[in-house]
Symmetry: C2
Subunit: 335 residues, 2 copies
């Protein structure tokens, strides 16, 4: 049940059938109809392997994620997927599976096998070997999230984002603000957390405000991590307590809010909390945040990489937008 069968049944040649199936304009309309009908009747299923071998194009792009179960990755993946589907491309998912997931093997064994025409890397920091390996495959690559040396990337300007948050907090009158960020649990993607922290510290310094060491905490970029950080922050008694907490992700911010309430503090009266992301849960809970749109970033990245596959030049991409969304978890500090 290949193209040949259809050729035999219709009395046409393989080449004509091939052209007809792809709807090429050099084929008579009547022929196209006939071929399509017969193909349907026969239950013809094209072989992407054969087509790929012949053309050198797989019509598939790979998406590499450090781990899957993070809000940002899921959203970005959805965006990439939507755009690929529009273009008729398949998506092959390469999940590095965290620190325990032996990246090396994953890299070598599958990503390079010409199974895909391009790669979208989700906030990945590659080491030299990995870069070199990927270079072998010679296909277009782009990263979403933190910047990566030598690769195009789409994402927000993390320093700017941190600045927006600090502006908001300081504009309300806060001077004692803590930071909850830290390494991603997966042990990857170092760029983003650092950029946000540096952006925070710098923005504070820009206003003549310094940040206490004990107020820079690791929230592991997760809800539970945020709770832990909040517990640490609020257990110390009112004297050494910040009046505001800036979290590098909404999930952590949600955790901090919970910890605050548990500690008997009211938000934002006793402590203000702001996050980054635009997580759905935050909207419901009334979390103030600097929202970004990872889905749109995914779509942008997919479009860019697809264009490159089609031979377009790889120009630089503009920073993705992010904007302050003021809700109920931030307010002026207590007088």
């Amino acid at each position: 049940m290949g193209i040949q069968e259809i050729a035999t049944v219709t009395g046409l040649s393989k080449s004509t059938v091939s052209r007809a199936l792809r709807g090429m304009s050099t084929v008579a309309d009547s022929t196209i109809d006939q071929v399509r009908r017969v193909a349907d009747e026969l239950g013809y299923v094209p072989s992407s392997a054969a087509a790929g071998l012949a053309t050198g194009r797989q019509r598939a792009v790979g998406v590499v994620v450090p781990v899957i179960d993070r809000w940002f990755y899921v959203k970005a993946l959805g965006g990439v997927d939507a755009e690929l589907r529009r273009a008729g491309y398949d998506l092959v998912l390469y999940n590095l599976g965290g620190p325990g997931g032996d990246r090396d093997r994953a890299f070598r064994r599958s990503m390079l096998r010409h199974r895909v025409d391009a790669l979208v890397l989700l906030s990945l920091v590659l080491d030299e070997t990995e870069r070199a390996e990927l270079e072998l495959a010679r296909h277009p690559m782009i990263v979403i999230g933190g910047p990566a040396a030598g690769l195009r990337n789409v994402g927000v300007d993390d320093v700017v984002v941190a600045g927006i948050a600090v502006d908001h907090l300081c504009g309300l009158g806060h001077r004692d603000v803590a930071y909850v960020g830290g390494q991603d649990e997966a042990g990857m993607n170092v760029a983003v957390p650092w950029l946000r922290r540096d952006g925070f510290v710098d923005a504070m310094a820009g206003r003549g405000l310094s940040v206490r060491d004990e107020w820079v905490l690791d929230g592991r970029f997760s809800f539970a991590g945020g709770v832990d950080a909040g517990d640490a922050l609020f257990a110390r008694g009112a004297v050494a307590r910040p009046t505001a907490v800036f979290c590098a992700s909404d999930e952590m911010a949600l955790g901090v809010v919970l910890a605050a309430r548990r500690a008997g503090l009211s938000v934002p009266e006793d402590v203000s909390v702001i996050g980054i992301d635009g997580h759905e849960y935050g909207e419901v809970v009334g979390l103030t945040t600097v929202a970004q749109d990872p889905e749109a970033q995914g779509r942008t990245a997919a479009r860019a990489v697809l264009a490159e596959v089609d031979g377009a030049a790889a120009g630089p991409l503009p920073a993705a937008p992010a904007h302050l969304v003021v809700r109920a978890t931030t307010g002026p500090p207590r007088a």
Copy 2:
């Protein structure tokens, strides 16, 4: 830079190189070493398309999800992925993208192209046409989540799960319990919500308890939906308020808890809340739940389908385990 180059450089034949690359035991160890070295030097990258064409095996399996951004799907996807990676298989993600995502095209255009050797469907209810289409591809299929006519499936027994929740609630003395479930937002996957609701109603009936119509709500299987359902439930004043709420997912349960607190009710004193899933957030918040392990289900499904690809018979799978986790959101009703 194909297998041929290596053959030329080493002075061996293509076949020997091919065998050496795959480490076949009929090849001299020294030859294997040599071939591998030369392959590395040349930066050889195998072509999965060519291998697939020749063998008829793509070493890839497709995973079909109704939408990606749901806790259960993400977790299950992770499980499938882990097992595939172990087996050296790639994962091709087919996201139907909700009701707006024109399933048809997605089905026809890519899933069937022999790009994958098997399919894992995440709680999908297929109509006849879709079933027929997929049959064409003739590869092993399995569904995770609700049962689907004519297909093997792995998942919890939803009726039993609902029974566990009802047992717990009634064991505490509750008689007035509401249900929050409803259609998945995606408009797919009808089986699971219905089974859970029916299981709930039946279990209640089994104890001589009936369920008010106004206490069966749609929470859209999301956090926000849970909040809405909770608002509706708790806005009516204490008279018509249930003493417990059974939610078909933890995300909805979390929303109901939030709504209860907002309405000035304390949990579990004024109202008990129980969910299904074992969501991480629930753990932190102290949500009582009937926990399941979608990741394990994903692994099981992947293993089963891989075995079938390798020619194993497709025996029936046992129901996945689920167990009650009592935490802080359930307690006896007020006297």
